[in-house]
Amino acid sequence: MRLVRLFRSPEAISGLVILGLLGAMALAAPWLFPRDPLSIAGPPLLRPFQDWALPLGTDRLGRDVVAGLFHGARTSLAVGLAAAAASILVGSVVGTAAGFAGGFVDEVLMRITDAFQTVPGFLLSLALVSVIGPSLGVVVVAIALSSWTGPARIARAEVLSIRERDYVASARVIGMHPVEIALREVLPNALPPVLALSSVIVAAAILTEAALSFLGLGDPNRVTWGGMISEGRAVLRSAPFLSIIPGIALVLAVLGVYLAGEGVVESSAAREGQA
């Protein structure tokens, strides 16, 4: 029923189609382009649509742009999803703990959240990556570190309202342990609004990863869209396609995540409105 409604909204459909294509690209990359995308495939600066073996041309070093695009989709999606999952997990645990425990624990956890929120997220990621060194794992941690505060605040607000509900009182009356109440009664009911944030976080994570790569702080052993745009910048006048093609991919990916996320939120809101 819920899925049916999801497929009725044109935004949701286009978002899901884009995400589906990106996912397929990411999955198919090792089969379609088994060679290292960082290896030289042909003459440098080959324009698109000249050679059907290299349909989107090559960059300054003669690397295949299509292969880069496909392998870059892997990095972007992996970093986006992993960072979002990590930040939602950390955020909802911190928020639930703060809201449920209250008092001193709440005070400490929320001041830590404040501290993280006052530092601009991108600077935080930048600092972390430049100190520890660029690798995929560090990039994921760096992005998660700058985006867990949103989910934490929302989870806390939800938990504060839920813990006053009668069903939590009822769980206490039957003798349920406080930890079980937090995990079984409170957390599952606090999650939906936190999950509604996830599309925004995934999209922001993809953009942050691209920005880090653009600044040369991405994982040097992987092709990323941000890195490709950065590479193309040096020859922006003579070969603008090198920046434009990964740029379009980036815009589409972020748009796809947003649209699909909106569609899911709307369809679940419609469901609640009817109930």
């Binding site: 069903y167 009182a169 009822s170 206490r172 039957i174 003798g175 349920m176 342990h177 079984r184 009911n189």
Partner: protein, 263 residues
């Protein structure tokens, strides 16, 4: 005379509202015998619901003692408190609010059995079916979600959940107030029958004197945090002494033929 089941002494709870402190419950004392129903009646804001929540330790009291069996309820902590709670249960006004919206009937009834280890794991589904049967529901209801059953069925499930751990006292906090007229009579009848079979005591918190008259042995009338009058239900309703008691009796809507019978 046997020792009372519950003895409440000087129970007090203060709240802050708008910077001012006021006593929602102010030195309340009463006792209850095994198998007895005591109604706690009063206008809204009189503190009657707070008394119920204090007994169950859903809210912490500022002063007073609650002797229940051998223990002072207000002094218990952690596991000791959780184990006493098996003997002291509660049914809320709105079962939809008192149930986790994601739960099924089976899970709601399984929780108290599992948490307190009352019934071995293998026998739990049988125990759930028995509980449903005791409150007059079909065991086929077990797999339903809380949104898929009627209001009356929900309140029966709430009663079954309270019965699961074999309590000696159930606090009924406006437990029939939100129900339809015909369903309300059924639920009151169910409560009375369960009391006769198992000698459970009820603390029946209500503002509805009609419902109180039909089920309570004794009545305590509260106003502004104090018990202003208590006694045998029929006697108090026939001849209330306190101002609040008189106002409550006068305000209760009656059908004309009932009035004639009284006079």
């Amino acid at each position: 005379m046997s020792a009372p089941l519950l003895e409440v002494e000087g129970l007090t709870k203060r709240f802050r509202r708008g910077g001012r402190e006021f006593a929602a419950v102010d030195g309340v004392s009463f006792s209850m015998a095994q198998g007895e129903t005591l109604a706690l009646v009063g206008p809204s804001g009189s503190g009657k619901s707070t008394v119920g929540r204090l007994l169950l330790r859903l809210t912490e009291a500022d002063a007073g003692s609650v002797r229940f069996g051998r223990a002072d309820l207000l002094q218990l902590r952690g596991a000791a408190l959780r184990s006493v709670r098996t003997k002291l249960q509660m049914v809320f006004q709105d079962p939809l609010a008192a149930f986790n919206p994601r739960a099924t009937v089976a899970r709601l009834l399984d929780d108290p059995l599992r948490v307190n280890g009352v019934v071995a794991r293998g026998r739990r589904s049988m125990a759930i079916a028995e509980l449903l049967e005791r409150v007059g529901l079909s065991s086929a209801l077990a797999s339903r979600g809380v949104h898929e059953i009627s209001g009356g069925q929900r309140q029966r499930v709430a009663i079954a959940r309270a019965l699961a751990t074999g309590p000696s006292l159930i606090v009924l906090d406006e437990a029939v107030a939100a129900l339809d007229v015909l369903v309300r009579a059924d639920i009151l009848r169910l409560l009375r029958d369960l009391q006769r079979q198992e000698r459970i005591s009820y603390l029946f918190i209500s503002h509805d004197l009609g419902a109180v008259r039909s089920i309570a042995h004794r009545i305590a009338i509260m106003d502004a945090g104090h018990i202003v009058e208590q006694g045998d239900t029929a006697a108090v309703i026939a001849n209330p002494q306190s101002k609040t008691g008189k106002a409550l009796v006068a305000a209760t809507p009656e059908l004309p033929h009932a009035r004639e019978n009284v006079s």
